[in-house]
Amino acid sequence: MTDRKILDLFFARSQRAVEEVRDKYGGKLLRLAHNILRNSLDAEECVNDALLAAWDSIPPQRPEPLLPWLYVTVRNISMNRFRYNLAQKRSGSRYAIALDELDDIFSGADSTESTVDRRELCRLLDKFLGGLSRLDRTLFLGRYYSGESYLDMAERLNLSEHNCQVRVSRLRKKLREFLKKEGVLS
């Protein structure tokens, strides 16, 4: 079923809309949540919460195409759960391992500087991503947005695992330089 037809079902307040989204995108959403949480029950709950959020938000929203909107929603919900789990020391997910790599960016930098406005930082990240090639952007977001392993990324992108690691490492360096240039990292 097309996104448009699914959205019309939402607008017609038909429960079938949720079933159709689950059928069409459920697997993808579950995998994203699972990458972040590494817990099937938690992941499933986050996807259910995202479907509920879709039911509450559409209408009046009409996110077409639907999938990126669902990715953002699932990730936000999963990240909230991830942070909660981290506070409860119940983490150890793939995503946590990926995040550890980001320490590179801050090594030697003064992290006691005053906090940066979140919206400004989002804007800068968008600017950084906008300046990357499509492949580099996919690698960066695959690793740090959805917590993919290097092996999975290598398979999906037809690269070697080592190549993925090297490219992502360069991207971290590039981001570090970029943030310094923009004056948010000393």
Binding site: F11, Y71, L125, R156
Partner: protein
């Protein structure tokens, strides 16, 4: 700045970038990727062979004269000696534009009079909206060609971007009415006079392609929004059309409840001649406030559906098993129904083949053309007999009662809007107004209104 701040900022990354992670969630197994590589190699080898052959045998195989840039994809017939009609399409959200071109070409070969015999067609597509880097230059280049040739026929859908995924999304004719005024299209009146099929098309919607008494453009698919109320549960006694204001002030809670779309209630948004908005900022704010304040909860019920877009894609409540519904629109300020054109076609004023161009348009407006989902993009066909659907398909279908309700709505159409940046700006306001407080609303309305004024100045 800390790592945590950076990680939190990742949550807010623009959705247009997020879509690239989809590559990790496709369910294709690994062997498919391996196969893709093999296919790539095979295709590369074939291309090299063809290039070598083309270099060695240019005159034996085909005419090697360089062709102008072909946007997106193009397919054409093989009879080189026949005049070629260039058809520009823009119908698919993304993905395989080539198969869309092929489908249109095949359809025209079978249904457009003389196609493949006295002329051939070359169907080309704009790059889809998820390739903005290619799309925008293609649009610019084609616009430059309009004065010196360019496509002979346009078959276009005006896309909307509802979540800001493609903030710079460009449609080929963002303001079709302006294009009509600027003389871009071929007047079709002489051909329509001799076309008996014209009588089958919804007259009020077709009138949207008429400028100063001349038919310049043909709508092919459209939508109407209406609320559905089961006849078994409600005795509808009011006489339509009402004005939007009358609906909002009505004693009948169902009518107040059905007056749910203030975008539709505005009717025609701008005056094509004076290039001014047809409503003031105060009127807009007042209308939004009235719709927001309407007391509608009492009228809501399980068997009543607010603001359903009446298009075949929406077959959940309008199918062979549906009950009889009253179809109640959000009437506009002039006391009528607002329709939205989703797909339209036109012939270029500069075409050297006007008769053939009309043959193509005629095929698109024919019963067969109007039954093709690609041509109407799942919206309501303008060919009224095709609007009922087929009960054998198991999807969209209007029983006698519901079909008569739809026809009755169509008789009340007095405003037809294309998907223009102006309409999208209002839609953006519509998407957020419900969440705004009374204090926030005036400032947000002001901001959108100023933006719309600027848009109309630049249209």
């Amino acid at each position: 700045m800390t790592k945590d701040e950076l990680v939190r900022a990742l949550d807010g990354v623009d959705a247009k970038y997020v879509r690239c992670i989809d590559v990790f969630y496709r369910t294709e197994p690994r062997w498919r990727y391996v196969m893709k590589n093999s296919v790539k190699l095979a295709v590369s080898a074939a291309v090299i062979l063809l290039m070598v052959a083309g270099f060695c045998l240019p005159h034996l195989l085909w005419d090697t004269e360089p062709k102008p840039w072909s946007p997106g994809a193009a397919v054409s017939g093989t009879k080189e000696e026949l005049p070629t009609l260039r058809i520009l399409i823009d119908l698919t959200l993304g993905g395989d534009v080539r198969s869309a071109c092929r489908e249109i070409e095949q359809f025209l070969l079978s249904h457009a009079e003389g196609c493949g015999e006295s002329y051939q067609v070359e169907v080309e597509s704009l790059p889809p909206i998820d390739e903005p880097d290619k799309r925008e230059p293609a649009i610019t280049q084609l616009h430059m060609q309009l004065n010196t040739g360019g496509p002979d026929v346009f078959l276009l859908r005006n896309f909307s971007d509802n979540i800001g995924l493609y903030p710079d999304l460009k449609n080929f004719f963002p303001y079709p009415a302006s294009a009509m005024r600027q003389g871009v299209f071929l007047p079709l009146d002489a051909y329509i006079e001799n076309d008996p099929n014209w009588e089958n098309l919804c007259p009020a919607v077709m009138a949207a392609g008429n400028y100063e008494g001349s038919q310049l453009l043909v709508p092919l698919g459209f939508g109407i929004r209406a609320s559905l109320v089961e006849t078994a549960s409600y005795d509808f006694t009011a006489e339509l059309p009402l004005t939007g204001e009358q609906m909002l002030q009505s004693e009948d809670p169902v009518l107040r409840w059905a007056a749910c779309s203030w975008v539709d209630m505005l009717g025609t948004l701008s005056d094509c001649e004076t290039e001014e908005l047809n409503f003031s900022e105060e009127e807009l704010l007042s209308l939004i406030t009235s719709v927001r304040d309407r007391k509608d909860t009492a009228a809501s019920a399980q068997n009543r559906l607010p603001g359903v877009t009446l298009i075949p894609a929406n077959d959940t409540h309008l199918n062979a098993d549906s009950p009889d519904y009253w179809l109640i629109p959000s009437c506009n300020r002039s006391g009528g129904v607002t329709a939205h054109v989703e797909v339209f076609a036109a012939a270029s004023a500069g075409t050297k083949y006007p008769r053939e161009a009309y043959a193509v348009l005629k095929a698109l407006m024919s019963r067969e053309g109007q039954q093709k989902e690609l041509i109407t993009s799942f919206s309501l066909p303008v060919y009224q007999e095709c609007q009922r659907g087929d009960p054998a398909d198991g999807g969209w279908y209007l029983n006698d009662w519901n079909y008569s309700q739809l026809l009755s709505l169509e008789e009340q159409i007095n405003a037809v809007e294309f998907t223009t940046p102006l309409y999208l700006e209002l839609q953006a306001l519509f998407d957020q107004y419900a969440a705004l407080s009374d204090e926030e609303l005036p400032a947000v309305v002001h901001e959108h209104y100023q933006k719309m004024k600027k848009m109309i100045d630049e249209s």
